[in-house]
């Protein structure tokens, strides 16, 4: 049930990002004379100070926000798989080094690091922001994957592959990796949430590409346009709500998977006799 709701939310936002701009067709940056209008039939979610349609911005912003989230989660997951699987499989000094590296990146506060790195970027395009977020966001996945690799590498099929003369890299990426795909998928989903949040935070601070419309940059302009003081709630509520809903969708899928693995976590209908 949880997984179904979660997937439903994600499909909705995916469609919004893929098909939405085609349906709307308008330019998200186009200004008009109807500044600061509340939600109405003409502008379902109202307008910004310069008369931009908020619904159009939300729909186009979905592309950037989710695009950056996915791109940097892909990069981070590739890093996590490389570090986690290689370290976990080889063990010894390689594993020690990779583990320490992973733990260091796990402890260092990522958002301040992202802000500092972004501060040094000469151009803050979509791709460079995605890379910066990925560089700070791979450690959690690497830690989980290493732990899983440690248990998988002792299984018989790995021993068989080794006896069959397969090289270590082939064993890691063609024997062990397919077995870990479910774990990789869960850690990928969690990384997407983190990356979308990080992108939103960075854009909100005005440190990402402000010429493209993303949910974070909408919030940046809402804050700088004094949306709060004017009482223009329709300007800042939708972007944040979208971010939180995507996060909820991804979390529901992940929690649903957890509950399949550990049935005790499920909520139960029958009241147990406990005071």
């Amino acid at each position: 049930m949880k997984i179904k709701i979660g997937v439903g939310i994600l499909v909705f936002f995916a469609l919004m990002a893929l098909v939405g701009p085609l349906l709307i067709g308008a330019d998200p940056a186009a200004t008009s004379d109807d500044g600061l209008q509340g939600p109405s039939a003409a502008h379902w979610l109202g307008t910004t100070q310069t008369g931009q349609d908020i619904l159009t911005q939300i729909v186009y912003g979905a592309r950037i926000s989710m695009g950056v989230g996915l791109l940097s989660a892909v990069i981070a997951t590739v890093l996590a798989v490389a570090v986690g699987l290689v370290g976990g499989y080889f063990g010894g000094a390689i594993d020690e080094t990779f583990s320490v590296l992973t733990n260091i990146f796990l402890v260092l506060p990522s958002l301040p690091l992202i802000i500092v790195l972004a501060g040094y970027l000469p151009q803050r395009g979509v791709a460079s922001v995605a890379v910066v977020i990925a560089v700070t966001g791979w450690a959690w996945g690497a830690r989980v994957l290493r732990a899983q690799t440690l248990s998988v590498r002792r299984r018989d099929f790995v021993a068989a592959a080794r006896a069959g003369g397969e090289g270590p890299l082939r064993i890691i990426f063609f024997e062990i990796l397919p077995v870990l795909l479910p774990v990789i998928a869960t850690s990928f989903l969690a990384t997407v949430v983190g990356a979308i949040l990080a992108e939103a935070g960075l854009s909100f601070l005005g440190l990402a590409d402000l010429s493209t419309v993303s949910w974070g940059s909408m919030l940046y302009f809402a804050q700088n346009g004094q949306a709060l003081l004017i009482g223009a709630w329709w300007w800042f509520i939708p972007p944040g709500l979208c971010i939180a809903l995507i996060g909820t969708g991804l979390a529901l899928v992940n929690f649903g998977i957890d509950e399949i693995a550990n049935p005790r976590l499920r909520t139960i209908k029958v009241r147990k006799a406990r005071a």
Binding site: L117, L219, A222
Partner: protein, 326 residues
């Protein structure tokens, strides 16, 4: 004690990594920002100041290795260079002025969030199947809400619409800082909304995490045994189940600290709170590289210290870590 020694070793290693990262970032990022900065400042600032900045960055014609040693030497003397935004103030002075606000705000808020969130998690696991399960969907939603959005919403509702709380600064313009009741009251009043933001935004993780571990723990034989012995349910809940469930919870709490600090940086910025989060943004906006780097270093070290405190709590709560050596 071997556990603590090992952890301490790891934190020292991480601190060294943060220091080294700080040294490498300006040199590895494209465009050599320090040289650019020096070139840009040459007209406005006296040569002595530029020289000081080069020294603080360790930028010289010497080899990279020599630069690194110089940099470590400066750091050991607490020299982080001069801020460009607040020139000629030392970066260390800027940080010393703003750090107490952040430590106070984030420290207290995180503690409240941890205590309330963990207790709620325990209760929800214990009363599974009752109305308390209704908190779960809300917590799932809150778990992904951006801190700064919570901050914006609170400002809108309680600051602008209801006008119950101030929405910026750390204390009122009319009070004089000092050890007076009036000043303390003003500080508390101004810290309310930022603190509530951090508590609300970070609590969901604690609730969900604690509930899940607790639910698993409640199925253990020793909990069933405790119930069968006829112990009061309060004793079973806290002294048997929660006491054990809290261990993994502390570990995950320590790991989430970096995330909480990141969210707090954004929260401070929304509320123009004079902590190091606001300073960090000022540094980035003004391309004040010494300030940016100094703040990143201090935030990293603070998170490491907090992690070590969490480890100490772990040792107090888990006797096994203390018996390892015997």
């Amino acid at each position: 004690m071997r556990f603590l020694a090992r952890r301490l070793g790891f934190y020292l290693l991480t601190a060294w990594a943060a220091v080294t990262l700080n040294f490498l970032i300006p040199r590895l990022m494209p465009g050599d920002p320090v040289e650019l900065l020096v070139a840009r400042m040459r007209d406005n600032v006296d040569p002595a100041a530029i020289d000081a900045m080069r020294r603080a960055f360790g930028i010289s014609d010497a080899s990279l290795w020599q630069q690194y040693l110089d940099y470590l030497g400066n750091l050991a003397h607490g020299e982080l260079g001069r801020s460009i935004t607040f020139f000629p103030t030392e970066v260390s002075t800027v940080i010393a002025d703003s750090l107490p606000w952040t430590v106070g705000l984030v420290g207290v808020a995180t503690l409240i969030s941890y205590l309330v969130g963990t207790s709620l998690g325990v209760l929800m696991a214990w009363k599974r199947g009752t109305w308390l399960d209704g908190v779960l969907p809300a917590a799932t939603f809150m778990h992904a809400v951006p801190y700064f959005w919570v901050a914006l919403a609170l400002v809108f509702v309680f600051g602008v619409t209801l006008q119950w709380f101030p929405v910026s600064r750390a204390y009122g313009l009319e009070v004089v800082p000092g050890f007076t009741g009036e000043f303390a009251a003003s500080v508390l009043y101004h810290a309310t909304l930022p603190a509530v933001t951090i508590v609300v935004a970070s609590m969901a993780d604690r609730i969900l995490g604690m509930r899940n571990v607790m639910v698993t723990t409640l199925g253990e034989d020793y909990v069933v045994m405790a119930e069968a012995k006829g112990l009061t349910s309060r004793r079973v809940m806290w002294a048997y189940a929660a006491r054990n469930a809290i261990l993994p919870n502390i570990t995950s709490f320590a790991l989430s600290l970096g995330f909480v600090v990141g969210g707090s940086v954004l929260t401070e910025i929304v509320f123009s709170y004079p902590g190091i989060g606001s300073m960090l943004l000022k540094g980035v906006e003004n391309e004040d590289f010494p300030l940016m780097q100094g703040i990143f270093l201090v935030i990293s070290l603070a998170v490491l210290v907090a992690n070590f405190l969490a480890d100490l709590a772990y040792v107090v709560l888990d006797p096994r870590t203390r018996q390892e050596a015997q």
